[in-house]
């Protein structure tokens, strides 16, 4: 029965209910209601068919329908299919069988759901708090609808919980949440034996901003501004992902010119991030040539962004339905990109010819392919370990089907592979940008959106410089957002990073950390 398509098996089952199959461009969306008792079985079957977890979230519909609902979104690679499982839970005792034992990638998503909604994933191997810290009172669940966003929550005494690692000669080294440099907060607990790291645990979510809560009840056009501001350096990918979710809800097709401009924005964003990261990785080892040339080239790209869109971080461009503002100076930018490409080639060839740089990066911070697959690592970090997963080709969105480009991968999964991965991806990005500039046709910039049908769900996603950014939206009445869930690339990769560190020495951690270049803001949304 496994050979049959999954949804057929389940839609014929008397307890299940096939809600809807729609197609969105080349991608098919399947929505399926599954009873709690069948949930594990359904997930297991999807896993056996090779589906990977995209996002997982819950909604509180107690006021409307007296239920909690858990939505789990999978993608079937190679079949251009997105499957959304809907599980209805009891309002009084919300719990369901945890899928983390089957799919470790759900680990943080389920813990976050427990913190935010009080929904218990029964059988989850690690139910410590994640998104709320020890000083948060019990039984207050901020994403439930009866929690007002302006509630002042009393602080209680509590402490950080770590899985203890003990032994003779083992030391704990607490690092952060406040660091010596100007970076975002995160607490890292190293368990070390001399300089060797035996274990590393991270406590994050120090600056959780309640962005998902803030978006609830907003008109979808206003929530677009929120989406754009989740993260500074991922503005374009977040705003496009959100806009795509809204457009799927509205059932409209975006004009071709808008799609091409979005592609240009997304790829410009990837480029300045990748080049900035290439330079930043050199900062982890004090290699000043790479630091300064990377920073200069990144600055040049940001100034090009400014000339192209009027904003260095590409904000104020994307709206649900298309593009708000046309791009300027396109021919000039596209010829300057050729110069940037040559410059990057020159810089990276000098960098990679430096024995002292290669020596530091090779075999440092290896992410094994099995770990990357099991924990659902995304983006350049996963591809550097040989996981060929890129949403631009896996589930084509926007105009990506029109462009010829390759998805490079590496084998070793060490810091050097992640550097090479970014270099090779940048080469492909130059190719995409040239095609997009060349074939940028005249036409409308945006379409009017009809009213959104209430209480429908849609998922929008982009492959950002760090990996898949997935935005899941449920509409409410009057074109408002009922529930908004952002699963950023950093959300997927933060749990992976600490696993690459044991076996290395303490002073190599900053380099490993920079090679992932994860974003705290994308996590603390």
């Amino acid at each position: 029965m496994c050979n049959q398509p999954f949804w057929k098996v389940f839609s014929e089952h008397p307890d299940c209910d096939l809600i809807k199959i729609t197609t969105n461009g080349a991608v098919r969306n399947i929505k399926l209601g599954v009873p709690v008792s069948k949930f594990s079985e359904a997930v297991d079957m999807l896993k056996k068919q090779g589906a990977f977890l995209v996002t997982m979230t819950a909604t509180d519909k107690r006021q409307q329908f007296g239920i909690f609902t858990v939505y789990t979104v999978f993608a079937l690679p190679g079949e251009n299919t997105i499957i959304e499982l809907k599980v209805v839970l009891d309002a009084e005792q919300p719990s369901y069988p945890s899928i983390t034992p089957l799919i470790p990638a759900a680990h943080w998503l389920e813990r976050e759901m427990k913190d935010m909604f009080g929904i218990i994933p029964v059988g989850h191997p690690d139910l410590r708090r994640l998104a709320v810290h020890g000083d948060w009172p019990e039984d207050i669940y901020p994403l439930r609808k009866d929690f007002a966003a302006n509630t002042v929550v009393p602080r209680v005494t509590g402490k950080l919980e770590f899985c203890s690692v003990e032994g003779e000669g083992l030391f704990q080294v607490p690092v952060g949440p406040i660091h010596a440099g100007i970076i975002e907060p995160g607490h890292f607990r190293f368990f070390t034996f001399g300089e060797d790291v035996i274990d590393l645990q991270a406590q994050l979510f120090y600056t959780h901003r309640g962005i998902e809560k803030a978006a609830e009840g907003k008109h979808y056009a206003d929530a677009a501004l929120v989406a754009e501001r989740i993260c500074g350096v991922c503005s374009a990918s977040h705003s496009v992902a959100y806009a795509q979710a809204i457009e799927t809800l509205a059932g409209v097709a975006v004009p071709k010119r808008a799609l091409y401009i979005r592609t240009i924005l997304l790829e410009m964003e990837r480029l300045y991030n990748h080049i900035g990261d290439i330079g930043n990785m050199c900062a982890g080892i004090g290699f000043s040539f790479g630091i300064s040339r990377g920073a200069m080239l990144k600055e040049r790209l940001m100034r090009m962004n400014m000339r192209l869109t009027g904003h260095r971080y590409l904000r104020g461009m994307v709206i649900p339905g298309g593009i708000q503002k046309d791009v300027a100076n396109t021919s000039e930018i596209s010829s300057e990109l050729k110069e940037v490409e040559q410059e990057l080639k020159k810089i990276t060839s000098i960098m990679l010819a430096s024995q002292s740089l290669v020596d530091r990066m090779r075999t440092t911070g290896i992410l094994p392919k099995e770990v990357a697959l099991a924990l659902g690592a995304v983006g350049p970090a996963a591809r550097a370990s040989g996981v060929k997963r890129d949403l631009r080709t896996e589930l084509p969105y926007g105009a990506y089907a029109d462009f010829a480009f390759k998805i490079p991968t590496q084998i070793e999964g060490d810091v050097l592979s992640r550097l090479n991965q970014r270099i090779e991806e940048s080469e492909q990005t130059f190719a995409i940008l040239q095609q997009a500039f060349l074939h940028l046709s005249e036409g409308a910039l945006a379409v009017e959106l009809p009213n959104l049908p209430p209480y429908r769900t849609a998922v929008g996603y982009t492959e950002s410089a760090r990996g898949a950014n997935v935005h899941w939206v449920m509409s409410g009445p009057d074109n408002r957002i009922f529930r908004y869930m952002v699963r950023s690339a950093s959300h997927c990769n933060w749990p992976v990073l600490p696993l690459c560190v044991p076996g290395n020495i303490v002073p190599d951690f900053p380099l490993i950390n920079k090679s992932f270049e994860l974003c705290y803001a994308c996590l603390d949304r």
């Binding site: 030391f171 080294v173 607490p174 690092v175 660091h179 010596a180 440099g181 001399g194 300089e195 050199c282 982890g284 080892i285 004090g286 290699f287 000043s288 040539f289 630091i291 300064s292 040339r293 200069m296 430096s354 002292s356 740089l357 020596d359 530091r360 020495i505 303490v506 002073p507 190599d508 951690f509 900053p510």
Partner: protein
């Protein structure tokens, strides 16, 4: 007696005045090599004055050791510096090469202890790394200096002047240049400009210090750097003994600045090494110094 005292005071004031400027020159040349404008040459003076005017904040868990260490460090580097004659004068007779090596070791000993005392995570890491590095660096330094002492037939600092001006001395120079890179906390051994606590060595030991004391420790580190560079010049590129005092001082300043430029170039061309690869670097330095000793006796 008063003459000697005046000479020592003169050396002290030269070191105190010039050390921040040399640091400024190294910083500025590194910035220019990296296409940056960089801070003003005088910035290290401003920084030190700023720190010295601030009150110090000290952990309640510390003792006299933390209070005293900055002064011990500064004093031992100044005394070490005053042993090397900057211009032609009578031997002060306050110590030889061995005393100089141990003055450095004393400062390091106190600094490592003081970094352990507040029991912060980074101080301990800095101390243990510093001790590991110093156990590698000191043998190289001693063997290098002894190879020159073997040529000169004395460990007296005045007598050893210019002892490196022969082919064997070139080998020693390479060995001692590696020592200077390590002792001044520069790439590839340590990174003086990093903000990454986990990679710090020397800076890690200073993290718990604030205000006046951190100013003294920064000043001490700059003086140590100048003393080491002056020592290199004294051994390998000596001054004309008959030059008047002001010419000797200007010359030594120019030579130290030139060596600072060399350090800046080395730092700009390399990445920091893996911590556990440092023994290999130091073994290289040791090999050069040992070859120098051998060739002194064989040739």
């Amino acid at each position: 007696m008063t003459g000697k005292l005046l000479i020592i005071l003169g050396q002290f004031s030269f070191l105190l005045l010039v050390a921040p400027l040399i640091n400024g020159i190294i910083k500025k040349s590194k910035a220019l090599l990296q296409c940056r404008r960089g801070p003003s040459l005088l910035q290290p003076y401003f920084d030190i004055i700023k720190f010295l005017r601030r009150e110090s904040v000290v952990s309640v868990h510390t003792s006299w050791l933390t209070q005293l260490t900055p002064i011990i460090c500064l004093a031992s580097y100044l005394v070490a510096g005053s042993m090397i004659p900057l211009w032609q004068h009578e031997n002060l007779g306050i110590g030889d090469m061995i005393a100089l090596t141990y003055l450095f070791a004393m400062a390091r000993f106190f600094l490592a202890l003081a970094a352990l005392e507040p029991a912060s995570a980074f101080g301990g890491m800095g101390s243990s790394r510093e001790m590991m590095i110093s156990s590698l660096v000191e043998p190289v330094m001693v063997v290098g200096l002894f190879s020159l002492a073997a040529t000169a037939g004395t460990t007296d600092i005045n007598g050893i002047m210019g002892a490196g001006q022969n082919p064997a001395g070139l080998l020693t120079f390479i060995g001692l240049l590696i020592v200077v890179l390590a002792e001044t906390g520069r790439i590839p051994v340590d990174n003086p400009d990093t903000h990454l606590e986990l990679t710090m060595v020397h800076e890690g030991m200073l993290l718990e210090y604030a205000g006046r004391q951190v100013g003294l420790l920064h000043l001490a580190a700059m003086i140590k750097q100048v003393v080491l560079l002056i020592l290199l010049i004294h051994l390998f590129w000596p001054q004309n003994p008959n030059a008047p005092v002001y010419v000797a001082l200007v010359l030594i300043f120019a030579k130290v600045s030139f060596l600072g430029l060399v350090l800046a170039m080395i730092e700009s061309a390399l990445a920091k090494m893996r911590l556990f690869k440092l023994p290999e670097l130091m073994a290289g330095g040791m090999a050069f110094c040992l070859l120098a000793v051998l060739s002194t006796y064989l040739i």
